[in-house]
């Protein structure tokens, strides 16, 4: 089991003057995986990353990298390398000087080091840049040089602190794919910090969602999206509709709930089982709701509403439906498969929403 895990974080907390930035986190990260720490600002993800790098020491708990305890090991002796948020490119050195910086103690001959630098430049798609001054690089180029500088040392783990934040959208999307491909080809474990949930879902094997210093859920992207275990995670990832409800009865693989504004809801019971009488939250993704202008046949998992405004997004539309007893409209996402947009100019029309049993996510009530 330990062979599989390259990083083991056990009960780690970090306090700054009475404030717990990281609160009792336990995590295992597997060899060769692309692992993301995702959460809003202040959730502790960067602090956790810095503890892996050795720039902060845990107030409590232990960190193991490749089964070795890190508590007495300073950053310069750890088998990890980091790509900093500001890139931290040394302005007084050229590109070669930057990339080769950490190779001084490797014992390799200068010619050998230069050859490796050229290899790295090929890999980051900046061939011939070796002699260029660091101050002449663009943002995207600096980011890649920072990457090469860390990877040339072939660390066991690469830590990345929101490296794509300063890039514009197109460049960012391109870099996301490149980083993912790079990680797969190099085979090194990546620990990636970001606040952008789309980014985390695109690139990662598994994601740890953090809030207020704690890890709420660790899953692969699909698991996080389809099976969030807390309201925070359900809300943070993508868009979600929430309804308060009370369980009427549960058993036989299905749970029946009285949900506010939705009426009778029948959901497929998954791992978390809620007993009769429990106060829960019923959650449904916008794309899992079917919108029709005539009443469907089923008696459960159906509700009538009134059409509100619609937002046209090109490939799909977000339709807002008002239900009785609820101020906030329900968001429904529909593909614009035909040439015209669904739902535009249909305001105030009566509509019906329906959904499948498997589409419901049950969350603990707060």
């Amino acid at each position: 089991m330990s062979d599989e895990h390259i990083i083991s974080i056990r009960g780690v907390s970090k306090e700054f003057g009475g404030v717990k930035a990281v609160n009792d986190v336990t995590l295992e990260i597997r060899r060769g995986e692309f692992f993301s720490l995702l959460g809003p600002s202040g959730c502790g993800k960067t602090t956790l990353l810095r503890m892996l790098a050795g720039f902060e020491a845990p107030t409590r708990g232990e960190i193991f990298i490749d089964e070795q305890a890190m508590s007495a090991i300073p950053p310069h002796q750890r088998p990890v390398n980091m790509v900093f948020q500001s890139y931290a490119i040394f302005p007084h050195l050229d590109v070669r000087g930057n990339i080769a910086f950490g190779m001084r103690k490797s014992g390799l001959a200068k010619s050998e080091i230069n050859a490796r630098v050229e290899e790295m430049l090929e890999m980051i798609k900046l061939p011939g840049y070796a002699g260029r001054g660091a101050t002449q690089l663009s943002g995207g180029e600096r980011q890649r040089v920072a990457l090469a500088r860390a990877l040339i040392k072939q660390p066991k783990v690469l830590l990345l602190d929101e490296p794509l934040g300063a890039l514009d959208k197109k460049l960012r999307e391109q870099m996301q794919l490149e980083l993912r491909a790079l990680q797969k080809s190099v085979g090194i474990t990546f620990v990636f910090v970001t606040h952008d949930q789309e980014e985390a879902l695109t690139m990662s094997d598994r994601v740890a969602v953090m809030s207020k210093g704690q890890v709420l859920q660790v899953e692969g992207p699909m698991g996080l999206y389809e099976q969030p275990t807390t309201r925070f995670v359900a809300d943070f990832i993508g868009t979600m509709n929430f309804f308060e409800g009370t369980v009427r009865d549960a058993g036989d693989g299905t749970t029946n709930i009285d949900a506010e504004s939705l009426g009778e809801v029948r959901a497929e019971t998954k791992d978390a089982a809620f007993g009769a009488g429990s106060e829960i939250v019923v959650a449904i993704r916008p794309e899992k709701l079917r919108l029709t202008f005539e009443a469907p046949d089923d008696s459960v998992n159906v509700v009538q509403g009134r059409m509100g405004p619609a937002a046209y997004l090109g490939d799909r539309s977000h339709l807002y439906v008002y239900l009785t007893g609820r101020d906030e409209p329900v968001v429904v996402a529909m593909q614009n498969a035909g040439r015209s947009a669904v739902g535009i100019d249909q305001a105030d029309q009566p509509v019906w929403l329906s959904w499948d049993e498997e589409a419901i996510v049950l969350l603990p009530g707060e």
Binding site: A53, G54, F55, P74, P75, H76, Q77, V80, N81, M82, F84, Q85, S86, Y87, A88, I89, F90, P91, H92, F101, G102, R104, K105, A134, T135, S138, G139, R142, R149, A150, K153, A166
Partner: protein, 275 residues
């Protein structure tokens, strides 16, 4: 054409004129020294009598003056190096680490800047006397360091403040131990600031009078020597020549130090991430 001219004039305006007069006020009396150092008369008065270099010759051929000059250079050089080291260490500690109680400690180190020099001078004199330490260039040096360390610290703090902390972390992360990181990353980038600090502290020590006056033994520094000459009217023009020379050299040094500091700023700004 006329529009931009009036724009410029308005911008310069009354305040600009005032500032130029202010500058003239600052430089005016100081320029007396060079002007009258070439004057062929022992009286510093108008009208000017004629051009001469004799005062400069007299100045160079004065062995006591040359001794005092050497002493000032020795003390200044040592004080510059030592106070820059101490000031830099302190500046690094203050800008890099979070420390409780740091405010009072920094305030304490800066205290010499707001205590009248004469009080510091006599305090050190008293300590030397009760401690049985003879007065010498060493005691002068100690006094000067008290004054120069805070200056060095102020210069280095403003150099290091904007310093991207992650540059040093990157150095550590890439496998260099803290000492190597200092030499390979911090030092090259701080060098312009270090040079500015060295020049500044040297100049402060070189020109300092009061502490040197109280703490000097048999060997005196240049300002103390000048002071002893002020009583003799015939030595006056010689003092003017000396003064003019010192003024010019210091002027050049400080301008150079500023230029160096400028370069440091440019390098620092370049290490920031572009948006």
């Amino acid at each position: 054409m006329s529009a931009s001219w009036t724009q410029k004039r308005d911008r310069f305006g009354g305040l600009g004129v005032y500032t130029v007069i202010y500058l003239a006020f600052i430089y005016g009396p100081v320029l007396v020294l060079p002007v009258f150092s070439f004057n062929d008369s022992i009286y510093v008065a108008f009208p000017l009598k004629g051009f001469t270099l004799q005062w400069y010759e007299e100045m160079i051929n004065n062995p006591r003056m040359l001794d005092a000059l050497m002493n000032s250079l020795k003390v200044g050089g040592t004080v510059a190096v030592l106070s820059t080291i101490l000031g830099t260490l302190a500046a690094k500690a203050v800008t890099r680490y979070r420390m409780p109680g740091r405010g009072p400690v920094v305030g304490f180190i800066m205290l010499p800047l707001v205590i009248p020099e004469i009080i510091m001078g006599i305090a050190l004199l008293v300590m030397a006397s009760t401690g049985g330490i003879p007065l010498s260039l060493l005691t002068i040096g100690v006094g000067h360091m008290l004054l120069c360390v805070p200056f060095s610290m102020v210069v280095m703090i403003s150099r290091l403040e904007g310093f991207d902390k992650s540059l040093e972390e990157a150095g550590l992360d890439l496998g260099e131990n803290p000492w190597c990181v200092f030499w390979r990353v911090t030092f090259p980038l701080a060098l312009p600031g270090l040079i500015a600090s060295l020049m500044l502290t040297f100049t402060i020590s070189f020109d300092e009078f009061i502490l040197a006056f109280f703490l000097a033994g048999t060997d005196v520094t240049l300002p103390v020597f000048i002071w002893s000459q002020l009583r003799f009217p015939q030595k006056l023009p010689g003092v003017l020549a000396l003064g003019a020379t010192i003024l010019t050299v210091t002027f050049i040094m400080i301008t150079f130090a500023e230029w160096f500091r400028q370069r440091g700023d440019q390098l620092r700004k370049a290490s920031y991430r572009e948006q």
